[in-house]
């Protein structure tokens, strides 16, 4: 008897979540798109025939939207005659890895430091904020040049540079949120009930800061991709033959009149990924907030 109730419970819960999905078509498209991107990142490169990524000077700067060539050339070819579609797929892995790692790293570290700073205040809090100030004032380019000089250029170093320079915004935002939340009634209630600091921070306060941090993070994803693009353009980011969307955008910079598709398609993909992430996170925010959830639910359906 219990098992049946449990099975029904999960089944209904799943139905509820799915219905909330379908009620927000934009979010649905976003998650499909994002899953596709993840799929490409993991399996894309192995699915492409090598010939499309080989240099072919006869097809240099081939224009897109022509039906005369293989469908892989539908988005055109780059300055060395390589298929744009193939290059974009190969770049997915590097780009997603760099951007995701950098954003997750900076959000987690920055968020935690901000929480600590806002909650405890005092000398520690101050010190953390001054560190944020210093990081904000240190130009990311200089840091990238230094890292490049001292260590070998590599994906990991690039991730560290990007994560490091983006940390302050999470630190400061988390702190600002904590300052406000800390004053609320339920927090003083928890304190008077004897809850430990760790419990208060992680169970009560942190969850409330996450929505804003995620909002920032999803847009930050795009900014990190574009920041990496700027560094690669100056030669302190990704090294060929490795490729990211950001590098493709940077390399297309000189060809905006002659071959606009070189910078356009990678830029478009960056925008679509940022858009999807944001739509998805927005949906998530509504779903997770009990006071907002009604907007996505089918009220008036048969009772559970």
């Amino acid at each position: 008897m219990e098992l049946i109730i449990q099975k029904n419970y999960f089944f209904n819960k799943l139905k509820k979540i799915l219905s909330m999905f379908f009620n927000d078509k934009l979010a649905l498209f976003s998650i499909i798109f994002l899953s596709f991107m993840v799929f490409l990142a993991l399996f894309g490169p192995s699915l492409i025939n090598e010939s499309f990524t080989k240099m072919n000077l006869r097809l240099r700067n081939l224009e897109p939207f022509s039906f005369e060539h293989h469908f892989m050339y539908f988005f055109g070819a780059d300055a060395l005659g390589r298929s744009m579609i193939a290059r974009l797929i190969i770049a997915t892995q590097n780009t997603m890895f760099i951007a995701a790692s950098a954003v997750v790293l900076s959000m987690t570290l920055g968020g935690m430091l901000g929480l600590v700073s806002g909650y405890f205040g005092g000398k520690t809090g101050n010190l953390i904020m001054r560190i944020a100030d210093i990081i904000m004032s240190f130009p990311s380019l200089l840091l990238a040049v230094i890292v490049l000089y001292m260590f070998d250029p590599g994906l990991l170093n690039l991730v560290l540079v990007l994560a490091f320079t983006r940390m302050p915004i999470y630190m400061r935002t988390a702190r600002a949120e904590v300052l406000e939340i800390r004053e609320r009634l339920f927090v003083s209630a928890a304190i008077s009930m004897g809850a430990s600091n760790t419990r208060i921070i992680f169970k009560h306060i942190a969850p409330l800061t996450i929505p804003t941090l995620i909002t920032i993070a999803t847009l930050d994803f795009a900014f990190v991709m574009l920041g990496e693009s700027a560094l690669s353009f100056l030669g302190v980011g990704i090294q060929p033959p490795e490729v990211t969307w950001g590098l493709m955008v940077a390399q297309g910079r000189n060809y905006l009149q002659l071959a606009w598709w070189l910078a356009f398609f990678p830029g478009l993909i960056i925008m679509l990924v940022a858009l999807s992430l944001n739509l998805f996170s927005s949906w998530l925010r509504i779903v997770l907030d009990p006071r907002q959830r009604w907007r996505l639910q089918n009220i008036g359906d048969k009772n559970e």
């Binding site: 101050n126 001054r130 909002t215 996505l296």
Partner: protein, 305 residues
């Protein structure tokens, strides 16, 4: 309040000092500036002589000692490339960037508050979705792409605006438009998120129950509390512009601090690197202090802590 302010300023100054020292040592890890300064064909003896003359061969702590000595005399370093004191060069560049940043951030902030609040009013409604897609698209577009395309369309094809350069009002339109897009996009999202939370909070419900006019509810009650994260992000964005509206400065030929910093880093002109980081740090830290003060003003609960 003044006690808080003076303590804050003091700790910021310490941060600046720490930053300065860090930059001094770290920058010198990036190689011998003589290589870049002298022509490729310069004979080996000329190179040796150059390094000797400017003390690049000395151990780093000696170089640092000399630097501190100069500092005590008020000398922030001399640009080898431009044959001028570094501070002069930086002080010429910073007002350009500051004016760009101030105008762009004002427009972005006001626009974001307006659009974001309206979007938050009916989350997932039509206005919300449209404004979200448009602002996100614009915010994640590569800025050099926007800039060059804008020049090609508005200057070359249509002839409405000058291509580039500093001057009167028409010269500002494209650079400011490009600079506004990213902070606007980000801030609209932050305002929206913040306002959604604020609008469903208890005191807003109370205000509505009391019959307060809707616009007052949004702009007076909800906004006040929703603004904290917004001004944080706005400050970060302002600092980002101050640190370098590089693309705009490069493409439109505005001699600001962003371009100066990049060029001097690439050319290893250490004096200018240090001076520009110093001035930029002062600007950024001042922005942060102002924001902290704004927290206290906006949220009485924080003020009384």
């Amino acid at each position: 309040m003044s006690k808080y302010l003076s303590k804050r300023i003091l700790s910021s100054l310490l941060a600046v000092a720490g930053l300065f020292v860090m930059v001094f040592f770290l920058a010198r890890l990036t190689g011998d500036p003589g290589h870049l300064y002298l022509p490729i064909d310069a004979p080996v003896e000329v190179r040796k002589e150059f390094s000797e003359k400017h003390g690049f061969n000395d151990p780093i702590y000696i170089q640092f000692g000399r630097f501190l000595e100069d500092l005590s005399e008020g000398n922030l370093g001399y640009s080898l490339r431009k044959e001028r004191p570094a501070i002069d060069i930086v002080l010429e560049a910073i007002p350009v960037t500051l004016s760009l940043a101030a105008v762009a951030m004002t427009i972005a902030l006001l626009g974001a508050i307006l659009i974001g609040s309206l979007a938050a009013y009916k989350p997932n409604g039509l206005f919300d979705r449209i404004s979200r897609v448009v602002s996100l698209t614009a915010a994640s577009a590569p800025d050099f792409w926007l800039a060059i395309t804008a020049i090609l369309i508005f200057s070359v094809s249509l002839g409405w605006l000058p291509t580039s350069g500093i001057g009167g009002f028409p010269y500002w339109i494209m650079p400011i438009a490009i600079l506004v897009i990213r902070p606007l996009g980000l801030l609209v999202q932050v305002v929206r998120g913040s306002m959604i939370t604020a609008l469903s909070s208890d005191f807003v419900k109370t205000a509505r129950a009391k019959g307060v006019k809707e616009s007052k509810v949004i702009f007076k009650h909800a906004l006040r509390n929703g603004l904290l994260p917004v001004i944080t992000v706005a400050g970060d964005q302002a600092a980002a512009i101050a640190n370098g509206a590089v693309i705009v400065e490069t493409i439109f030929g505005w001699p600001g601090i962003g371009k100066l910093m990049i060029d001097s880093i690439m050319q290893r002109d250490f004096a200018v690197v240090q001076a520009s980081i110093l001035i930029t740090a002062i600007v950024i830290l001042s922005i942060n202090i102002i924001i902290d003060i704004a927290y206290a003003i906006l949220d009485p609960r924080i003020r009384h802590k």
